[in-house]
Amino acid sequence: MNILQHKLSSGFVACIAIIVCYISFTRQPTDAYLFPRVISVFFLGLALWTFIKALLGLSKVGNGLSLTMFKNMFPGILISSIYLFIAAKSLGFYTATTIAFFLLLISYDPAPHTNLNSWTKRIIITACFIAIMYTLFAKILVVYTPRGMFI
C-alpha cells in the first residue's frame, strides 16, 4: 500500500548510514573514530537490509502517511517551522509564540471563523497561555529568551 513511502524512508536512512560510514572510515585521527566505525558498520548493515526489504516490497511495519494526513499537518508544520526557525529570533520569543499559538488555534479550531465568540475564545486562550509562559520562564525560571525586534 505504501511501498513507495517505505522505499523513500528506508532510502533516506540508508543514505545517512552510508554518509556516517564513509566519514567514520575516511576521517583522521583513526582513534577518534574507533567507536563510530563499529557503530556505523551495524548502522549500514541494518539500513541496507531495511532498504532492500522495502525495494522488494516486503516492508510492512508502519502505516505510512495518507494525503489527508499530510494536508492536515501541513499548516501546523509550516507555522511551527516559521515560528521556530525565523520568527523566534527576529520577532522575539514571546511575540513569536503568541502569533504562532494564535495562528495554530485559527488553523485547527473546528469552530466557524464567522462566529465572534470563537474569536474571543481564541484570544483569551492565547493571552492566558502566553501569560503563564511569561510568568514561568521570564519571572520564575529567569530564562533570557531572544527579544528580536524589541531589543
Binding site: 585521527p29 574507533l34 557503530i39 541494518l46 508502519g62 511551527s80
Partner: protein, 497 residues
C-alpha cells in the same frame, strides 16, 4: 535501612509542595490522552534547572508515578488510555463505568496502583544497593556490554520490527557521537554550527517525545471532538478497599508481574498491564466476567503498571541502564543535575538518591488520595481539544529546549529530531531505542575506547571483550534478546498467514 535516615528531607515544606504539585500535575497530564509519562517528564526537566538536585528529582519522580496512574482516569471514564500502560485498564474499567460503577473503578484503580507502586518502590529500596555492590566489580568490557544490552533489548522489544528497532538504536548511538570526541578532542559529524557542542540530551528527549505527538494532533485536522465523559456516581471508599483486598489473586499477579517486568530493561508498563490482565484472567474462576466490567481486570492491570515504576529505576540507578523510556528521560534529569548513576551512586550522593526514592514512596500515597478525589477534574481536563493541547505542547517544547543552555541551536535540534522521528515512526521506527542509544552511547563509547586501550597492552580486544564468565553471560543476553524477538516476529507472521 539507610533510606529511613533520609526520610526527613521529604517532609520539608518545599519537598512536600513539589511532591503535591508534581502528583496533581502528573495525574492531570496522565489523564490527558497523548501526553505520555515520558513526554511529561521530558517537558518538566527544564523546570528543575533552578532547583536543588533533590527537589528537581522529587518533582520528576512524583510526575513519573502519578502520570502512569493518572492514565487510568481517561481509560475508565473516556475509554481512551492516557498512556500505553493503561490499555489493559480500558477493557474492564470503561465497562464498569458504563454500568454506573465509574467511581468504584477509579477507586479500585488508584488503590491497586498504590499497593503495586509501594511494593515496586520497596523492591527499588532493597534491590538497588545489592545490585550496586555487585556492579562495583564490573570492568570496562562489562559496562560496555551492559550499555549494548540496554539498547538491543529495548530495540528488539519496543519497535514493531526488530531490524527497525535495532536500526533506531544505532541512529541514537551515532547521534551521541556528534560533537567533540572526549579523548582526542576531535570534532565529529558537525554538519551545522548548532551541533558544535553535540546533541544535548534534554532538547533531544523533548523533541523525540513531544514533537511527534504534536504532529499527530495536527494530522487529525480540524475535527470536532466527540469525547463523552461518563458521569460518576459516589461510591464508599471503604468498600473499594475491601474489594481490592478480597481480590488478592489479581492483586498478587499484577504486583508480581509488574515488578519483574520493570526490572527487565525496555519492556515497559504497556506489556506489564496486558500480561498481568491476561494472567489474572487465566487464573480466575470468573474468566467469563473479564471484559464485561470485572473488578479483577482493573486491579491486575493497574497494580502491574504502577509496580513497574520502582523496579524500572533499579538498572538505571545501579548500572546507568534505564529500564524504560521514562527512566531514560529521568537519567537525563539526573545528568543535568551533575549526578551520574552507577555502582557508587549510593556512596557519592546518598543525600540526593535516598530522599528521591523515599519521595516516590510518599508520592504513591499522595497519588492514591488525590487520584480518587480529583479524578473527575482530571477527566474534564482530558477533554481539552487536541488542537489547543498541540499548541501548548509545542510552546512548552520550544521554551523548555531553549532554557537548557539558552541556545537557539538546541531548539533547532529539538524540532528537527522530533519532526524526523514523527515520519520515521510512521514507517515502524521507534523513539525509545533511539533515545537509549543517545543516552547510553557515550557510556558505551568511553568504556569501549578505554577497554580497547587496555586490551592492546594485554591479549587483544577479542579476548578482553568476549572472554570471561560475565562477558559471555552479557553477550549471550544480547544475542538471546535479539534472537527471541526475531523468533517471535517470524512466529507472529506465520500465524497471520
Amino acid at each position: 535501612m539507610d533510606f529511613i535516615f533520609y526520610f526527613g528531607e521529604v517532609f520539608t515544606l518545599t519537598s512536600m509542595l513539589l511532591l503535591i504539585g508534581g502528583t496533581i500535575g502528573g495525574l492531570i497530564m496522565g489523564a490527558t490522552p497523548g501526553l505520555s509519562p515520558t513526554m511529561t517528564v521530558a517537558l518538566l526537566i527544564p523546570f528543575t534547572f533552578n532547583m536543588t538536585p533533590v527537589h528537581g528529582l522529587i518533582l520528576l519522580g512524583a510526575a513519573y508515578t502519578s502520570t502512569v496512574a493518572g492514565g487510568a482516569v481517561s481509560a475508565i471514564l473516556l475509554k481512551i488510555p492516557g498512556a500505553p500502560a493503561n490499555i489493559a485498564t480500558t477493557l474492564d474499567g470503561n465497562a464498569m463505568a458504563r454500568k454506573g460503577e465509574g467511581a468504584k473503578a477509579l477507586q479500585l484503580s488508584f488503590i491497586s496502583s498504590l499497593i503495586g507502586g509501594i511494593f515496586g518502590v520497596f523492591l527499588l529500596i532493597f534491590l538497588t544497593p545489592v545490585l550496586a555492590k555487585m556492579a562495583n566489580s564490573f570492568g570496562y568490557s562489562h559496562t560496555f556490554w551492559l550499555a549494548i544490552i540496554g539498547v538491543t533489548v529495548i530495540g528488539s522489544l519496543e519497535a514493531g520490527s526488530v531490524v527497525k528497532g535495532l536500526l533506531s538504536g544505532c541512529i541514537g548511538m551515532w547521534l551521541a557521537t556528534i560533537g567533540f570526541d572526549d579523548i582526542q578532542g576531535v570534532k565529529r559529524f558537525v554538519f551545522h554550527p548548532a551541533l558544535g557542542g553535540g546533541v544535548n540530551i534534554i532538547p533531544a528527549l523533548i523533541g523525540l517525545f513531544a514533537i511527534p505527538q504534536v504532529i499527530t494532533m495536527f494530522a487529525k485536522g480540524r475535527f470536532q471532538t466527540d469525547i463523552k465523559q461518563i458521569t460518576v456516581k459516589k461510591h464508599p471508599i471503604s468498600q473499594a478497599f475491601r474489594e481490592v483486598f478480597s481480590r488478592k489473586r489479581a492483586l498478587a499477579i499484577g504486583t508480581s508481574i509488574g515488578s519483574v517486568i520493570g526490572l527487565i530493561p525496555g519492556v515497559g508498563g504497556q506489556i506489564a498491564g496486558l500480561l498481568a490482565y491476561d494472567q489474572a484472567k487465566k487464573f480466575s474462576p470468573e474468566k467469563a466476567k473479564f471484559g464485561t466490567g470485572h473488578s479483577e481486570g482493573v486491579i491486575a492491570a493497574e497494580s502491574a503498571n504502577n509496580a513497574m515504576v520502582g523496579p524500572s529505576l533499579v538498572p538505571l540507578l545501579t548500572l546507568s541502564i534505564p529500564g524504560s523510556p521514562t527512566a531514560a528521560v529521568l537519567l537525563g534529569g539526573l545528568i543535568i543535575h551533575g549526578i551520574f548513576p552507577g555502582p557508587t551512586l549510593f556512596q557519592d550522593y546518598p543525600e540526593v538518591i535516598w530522599p528521591f526514592i523515599n519521595s516516590m514512596l510518599i508520592g504513591q500515597i499522595l497519588m492514591c488520595i488525590f487520584g480518587i478525589y480529583i479524578a473527575s477534574l482530571a477527566a474534564r481536563v482530558a477533554q481539552v481539544p487536541q488542537f489547543i493541547m498541540a499548541a501548548i505542547v509545542l510552546g512548552l517544547a520550544a521554551f523548555g529546549s531553549f532554557a537548557v543552555q539558552q541556545s537557539m541551536g538546541d531548539v533547532y535540534v529539538m524540532v528537527v529530531l522530533g519532526t524526523m522521528m514523527y515520519f520515521l515512526e510512521r514507517f515502524g521506527f521507534s523513539a525509545a531505542p533511539l533515545v537509549l542509544g543517545l543516552i547510553l552511547g557515550p557510556i558505551a563509547e568511553s568504556n569501549f575506547v578505554t577497554g580497547s586501550l587496555i586490551s592492546t597492552a594485554q591479549n587483544g580486544p577479542f579476548i578482553y571483550f568476549f572472554t570471561g564468565g560475565l562477558n559471555i553471560v552479557l553477550v549471550s543476553i544480547v544475542i538471546l534478546s535479539v534472537g527471541f524477538s526475531i523468533w517471535s516476529e517470524i512466529t507472529a507472521k506465520r500465524q497471520e498467514t
